[in-house]
Structure formats: structure tokens, C-alpha cells
């Protein structure tokens, strides 16, 4: 249901426009002239083999790395707000409590109603009861929830997640995707990088396939399946591997 709603919202103008993005590390080209757009409320998966350039692409969109060439532009409502960023590894202070971490990053993000935002994030992540626990004492899954919550503190119009469900058990994964879907329902554009092709197929409206820094495909999961040349009943992961093979990867 969330996906249908989001698709309806995603029909609006793009909230993120990426043009000719390029990044080199010495001689190696990590991201090669990548261009795409993300519509408001759209859930976009970036998939590709290891070393494809997914994390480098996301880190350029997040403003952590400076691209060698190309532009990243936000537009639409709240376009002046920073893009939300949830890195693959938890990026929070293990010696601070859950609430202290949220409060610190909320202050740095300059959110207006600090207490209300922290309270809301504690509720959304179902960590209200652990608010005063040191982060280092939490399980990997709970740490990842705080990690995601920090990325959402400023209510960003675009949210980037790098391998968001890697450390989560199936129940936590389900809760995560439910939460992300609720974000896209409210108009937040979400891009996530993942190895998990079935997860991309299940949740994403659109997938970008990256290999060796090159954008090979930009379309819906069904379209990817179609261009792979595999039979309709074939597993999406198999279709993805077949597609890469057709592109020489």
C-alpha cells in the first residue's frame, strides 16, 4: 500500500537532480559521469557488485566527498535543507546515551524544536525506554536504528542510506522498511545502496545499476528483469547477474 501511495507522490517534479557526476582516486575512476533524477517521495535503490562505486556515489550526494566533475542539485519544497545521510557503519558516539547522541546531532543540524524532535525520533525508533542507555551497550540492530534516526533529525527532503539493513534481523528489517515507506509517503525521497537484490526488488520504485562506476541501468525492477533476458519466473538476483553479464561485468 505504501508503495502505491509513494508512486503517486513520486509523479511530481524531481527533488534531486544529478548530472555528470565523476570521481577518480588516482588513475582509478570510481564513478563515471553518472546522471539521474529522484522524484519527491520516490524510493530509489542503487545496486551493483562490490566496488561498483555505490558508496562513493552516495558520499558525493551527501556532501562528504567533493566530485571531480558534475553537479548535485536539490529542488522543490525544503530544498535548502541538508540531504540526510545514514552511513553503512553506525556513526554515533558509543560513550554517549541514545538521547545525548540525538540531542547533539539535532543541535548540529540546528533543528528548531529540539526536545520535540528528539522525543519524536525516540518514539519512531521505539527506543524511548533505552534513551538513557549508553549506545555502546545496545545491540547492533538498535545502534543502527539510532544511526538512521540521526539521519532523519532535520526532516530532510532527501535521505541517503548506505546498506541500511545489513546489521538487522528480519523483524528489525521489516520495521525499518515500514518506517522508510512511511517517510516516502510523506514526500521524502529516499536513495539506498544495497547488495540485497531481492530487497531492492521488494521495496524500490526504481533501481540504478552501477558497475565499475558506470551507470548501466535506470528503471523499475520489472524493467531490469525484462532487459536481463531471463524468463519472467526467474529469481531477480539471477536476472541481475545475467544483466551484468550482458554488459560485460
Amino acid at each position: 500500500m505504501g508503495r502505491d501511495t509513494a508512486e503517486a507522490v513520486a509523479s511530481e517534479a524531481p527533488s534531486l537532480i544529478v548530472r555528470g557526476l565523476r570521481k577518480c582516486f588516482g588513475e582509478r575512476v570510481a564513478v563515471r559521469d553518472v546522471s539521474f533524477e529522484v522524484k519527491r517521495g520516490e524510493l530509489l535503490a542503487i545496486i551493483g557488485p562490490n566496488g561498483a562505486g555505490k558508496t562513493t556515489l552516495l558520499s558525493m550526494l551527501a556532501g562528504i566527498r567533493v566530485p571531480d566533475d558534475g553537479t548535485v542539485r536539490q529542488q522543490g519544497p525544503n530544498a535548502d535543507r541538508r540531504i540526510g545521510w545514514v552511513p553503512q557503519q553506525t556513526a554515533v558516539y558509543s560513550k554517549l546515551t541514545v538521547a545525548q547522541n540525538l540531542r547533539l546531532f539535532a543541535r548540529l543540524e540546528k533543528v528548531e524544536d529540539l526536545d520535540a524532535v528528539v522525543e519524536r525520533m525516540l518514539e519512531q525508533t521505539a527506543l524511548s525506554e533505552r534513551a538513557d542507555d549508553e549506545l555502546g551497550s545496545l545491540s547492533g540492530g538498535n545502534r543502527q536504528r539510532v544511526n538512521i534516526a540521526v539521519g532523519l533529525l532535520a526532516d530532510p527532503p532527501v535521505l541517503l542510506l548506505d546498506e541500511p539493513s545489513g546489521a538487522l534481523d528480519p523483524r528489525q528489517r521489516q520495521r525499518l522498511w515500514s518506517f522508510i515507506t512511511s517517510l516516502t509517503d510523506r514526500g521524502t525521497s529516499v536513495l539506498f545502496a544495497t547488495h540485497d537484490i531481492s530487497e531492492a526488488e521488494r521495496h524500490a520504485h526504481r533501481v540504478l545499476v552501477l558497475a565499475d562506476g558506470e551507470l548501466l541501468f535506470n528503471g523499475s525492477p520489472a524493467e531490469l528483469h525484462a532487459v536481463s533476458g531471463e524468463a519472467p519466473g526467474v529469481d531477480m538476483e539471477q536476472a541481475f547477474v545475467a544483466f551484468l553479464a550482458t554488459k560485460g561485468h
Binding site: I64, R65, W85, P87, A91, V92, Y93, L108, E109
Partner: protein, 446 residues
């Protein structure tokens, strides 16, 4: 087991920095210890200037002549003599650190020894630097001067004893080239005793009585004069001249060293650890996306580490003042010197922190780097070869320990270089290490 061994060797081989440290660090420490043990007080390089004219090179004591070389040769066994032409050259060599000190024998040295009965003769020792160097000079040069004095005193004793023997027993005495025959106190007393035994008149007995008593007392006590001669230990005085600043007591210099070492460790360990923590916790990537600029992040770490280290070291200085008398009127300068030193150490700390991926590695690196720097800064001039000393000076100048020690020492002991000069040096280092840390931050997101 061999596969585990192979695996660990492969890991070591790939950890180039660790491997380099494992090899270079012990060599560096061993070299430093080697210098400290082998080239210290044994033969310090000392500029020597003999201003006594060639034709006045002997000390005349009655009929005896002592060559001044008797005195100076004793000194030369203890020092690595650097001959200089004049006083200016001697002072220049001390100032430049080419020699540890200068030993100057003034032109009137032999004249004063000959004429004034050893009360007015002196040699001059000129030195420079901090209390450690001053103490080093005093403990080595002065002890050798004392040996030379003892040798001179021995010669004087021998001569004096000869005179006393002649006065007591009689014999030939050379006075200004004229040979005089001396009867001697013992023979004089015998002669008087004989006259008194011949029953002279009462008037003669009355007149000779006091002379007989004197001769008896003189014979009985003249031998004690030889004992008194043995107490002549320092016929030559030593005049000490400090080229710049003032003489620094070793205990207050030790306070400056202790406070600076504490300042260094607290500051460098804290600053490096605080910055490395951002990388270890992966939070830098979050902060770097516009929440905090790299410059602000570094400034925050520097200020925090510097403030903590400043508080610790100032408390330490105040605590030490309970046991070692310090000049409280200079407390304002203590604060300024400690503040300057802590900022420079913190800048070095963040530069180290920007190289490490985790807090433990940063702490280890900070410790490994700081310790030899402190050692190096305390190597005295003249204790090693001039070339090596120049190298040490350059290394000490590009890290904050030496200028911080100079600043604290100047604040506590009014030594040279002054607080302002050291603070200017530290300000340059803050900028340099801050810039290095800023460049190092680029590695955080790679």
C-alpha cells in the same frame, strides 16, 4: 603453528608504519641513550683562552718558579680544548653552542698569584643556556678547576713547608736572589739556653727570659704551620659569567621541565585521541557533510585538549610552589607560557590524531613521538658534536617541546630566550601543525 606465524609476518609486513616504528624507534632511543652515556661529562668542549703574556707564564714564589702550564695541564686532561684567539671569539662560540663553556685565564693571573698570596687570583668560566647546561658546566668544569687548584696548592705547600723547615731548623734561604744563612729557631733556643745556663747577671736573665720563652714556644708550635698550609685548597677563585639571562637554580629548572613534560603528555595524548575518536566512531563522515567544518572541528579539539592540559599543568606548578620557592610575581607569565605551550602541543596532537584510524593507535603514536623529543630538547650544547647539536637544534625547533620549555623556564626562572620570543615560535608551530592536521583530515573520508 607455522601458518599462524606466516600470517602474522604477512600482517606485519603490510603494516608498514608499525614495522617502521618497531625498527626506527629502538634505534633512535638507543642512539639518544648512547649520546647521553658516551659524550656527556667526560670531555666537554670548552673554549680556552690564555690571556697571560708569554713572558709572564711563571708564578714566582720566593726562590721557586711554577710554570702556569702546571695549572692548565691539569685542566686540559678534563676538557676537549678549543683554542680561541680572543675573548670575543670565546663568547661567540659559547653563544652559538659550539662549546659548552669558555675558560679564560686573565692576563694578571700569574702576577696576582705571585704577589697577593693567592687571595686575588681568579679564572673566568663563561657559559650560557638553561639550568641543566649551567649545572653541567658547574659540575664538570668546576670540579676540574678544583683538581687544578689542588695541584697548585700542593706545589705551594711543598714550597711553604721548605720555608718553615729553614726557619725552624736553619739553613740557606733565597730572598730576591740573595742567599741568606738562617740560624733557625731550634738553634736560637739552644744558644739562649746555653747563655742562661752560664748564670748571667739578674738583669741579663730578666732581658733574655722572654726571648727564651718565645723561642721555646716557637719551636714547639712552628710545625703546626705546615698543617695550616694543608688547608690552602683553593688558591685560585672561579668567576662565573652567564652570557644571557640569569643563573638558574637546578631545582626550579627541574620544575619547568616537569611541568612542560606533563603539559606535553596530557595535551598530545588528549588531542590526538579526541580527533582519532571521530574516525574510530565513523562520525567524521556525518560531521563533514556541512555540520562542522574541518577547521572548526580541529579548533574544538585543540581548545579542549589545551584547556585540560593547561589546568593540569597550572595546578601542578602551584602545587610544586609549596615545596620549591617560585617567584609568584611572575604568575601572569606562567599562565601565558602554559597557554602558549598547551596550544602548540594540542596542535601537534591533532596532527598526530589525523594520521591514526583509532584512539589506541593515536595514543601510541603520540607517546612514541613525544618521548624522544623531550630527550632531544635536553641534550646540552657541547655534549655532542657541533654538527649533531645543530641537527638536534633544528629537530627541537620544529616540535613544541623545546620552545614550550623555554617559555615555561623563562616565565618561572626569567631565563633566555624570553617568554615572548618562545610564544612567537609556538604560534608558528600552532599554524604549521594545524595546517598539517587539516591536510590529514582529508584521509578521514577516503
Amino acid at each position: 603453528m607455522r601458518w599462524l606465524l606466516l600470517k602474522d609476518l604477512q600482517i606485519l609486513w603490510r603494516s608498514k608504519l608499525l614495522l617502521g616504528l618497531l625498527i626506527v624507534y629502538p634505534i633512535a632511543i638507543a642512539t639518544l641513550m648512547g649520546f647521553a652515556l658516551s659524550s656527556g661529562p667526560e670531555k666537554p668542549r670548552v673554549a680556552f683562552l690564555n690571556e697571560v703574556p708569554e713572558n709572564r707564564g711563571t708564578i714566582r714564589l720566593g726562590s721557586q718558579k711554577l710554570d702556569i702550564k702546571t695549572y692548565t695541564n691539569t685542566l686540559f686532561t678534563a676538557i676537549d680544548r678549543v683554542a680561541v684567539e680572543n675573548r670575543d671569539e670565546a663568547l661567540q662560540k659559547v653563544r652559538s653552542g659550539a662549546v659548552l663553556a669558555a675558560l679564560i685565564i686573565p692576563p694578571d693571573f700569574t702576577q696576582k698569584l705571585s704577589n697577593s698570596g693567592f687571595s686575588g687570583a681568579s679564572v673566568e668560566v663563561v657559559y650560557n643556556g638553561d639550568a641543566l647546561k649551567q649545572s653541567f658546566v658547574r659540575s664538570t668544569i668546576s670540579s676540574k678547576l678544583a683538581q687544578a687548584d689542588a695541584a697548585l696548592a700542593k706545589a705551594v705547600n711543598k714550597l711553604g713547608s721548605g720555608y718553615i723547615d729553614v726557619i725552624l731548623e736553619g739553613g740557606q734561604l733565597d730572598i730576591l736572589g740573595t742567599q741568606l744563612k738562617i740560624l733557625g729557631l731550634e738553634r736560637s733556643k739552644t744558644a739562649i739556653d746555653r747563655v742562661m745556663a752560664d748564670s748571667p747577671s739578674a738583669a741579663t736573665r730578666r732581658r733574655l727570659g722572654p726571648v727564651q720563652n718565645f723561642a721555646e714556644l716557637a719551636v714547639a708550635n712552628a710545625g703546626r704551620a705546615k698543617d695550616l698550609l694543608d688547608t690552602v685548597e683553593k688558591p685560585v677563585a672561579v668567576t662565573e659569567t652567564v652570557l644571557s639571562g640569569r643563573r638558574t637554580p637546578l631545582d626550579t629548572f627541574a620544575v619547568a621541565v616537569a611541568v612542560t613534560v606533563s603539559l606535553m603528555f596530557v595535551c598530545v595524548l588528549l588531542a590526538s585521541g579526541l580527533l582519532a575518536l571521530e574516525r574510530e566512531e565513523n562520525t567524521f563522515s556525518r560531521l563533514a557533510r556541512g555540520l562542522v567544518t574541518g577547521g572548526r572541528l580541529l579548533a574544538e579539539k585543540i581548545v579542549l585538549a589545551a584547556a585540560c592540559a593547561f589546568a593540569v599543568s597550572l595546578t601542578m606548578l602551584i602545587g610544586v610552589s609549596l615545596f620549591v620557592p617560585l617567584d609568584w610575581s611572575r604568575a601572569g607569565l606562567w599562565v601565558i607560557a602554559l597557554a602558549g605551550g598547551s596550544l602548540a602541543f594540542a596542535a601537534l596532537g591533532v596532527a598526530i590524531g589525523s594520521l591514526a584510524r583509532e584512539v589506541r593507535a593515536a595514543s601510541l603514536l603520540a607517546f612514541l613521538l613525544s618521548l624522544p623529543l623531550a630527550f632531544l630538547a635536553l641534550v646540552p650544547s657541547g655534549g655532542v658534536s657541533p654538527l649533531l647539536y645543530d641537527v638536534i637544534q633544528v629537530i627541537s625547533a620544529i616540535f613544541p617541546f623545546k620552545p614550550s620549555l623555554d617559555a615555561v623556564n623563562a616565565a618561572v626562572n626569567s631565563s633566555q630566550p624570553g617568554v615572548l620570543q618562545s610564544l612567537a615560535h609556538l604560534a608558528v608551530l600552532v599554524v604549521a601543525f594545524g595546517t598539517a592536521a587539516r591536510l590529514g583530515l582529508r584521509r578521514f573520508v577516503q
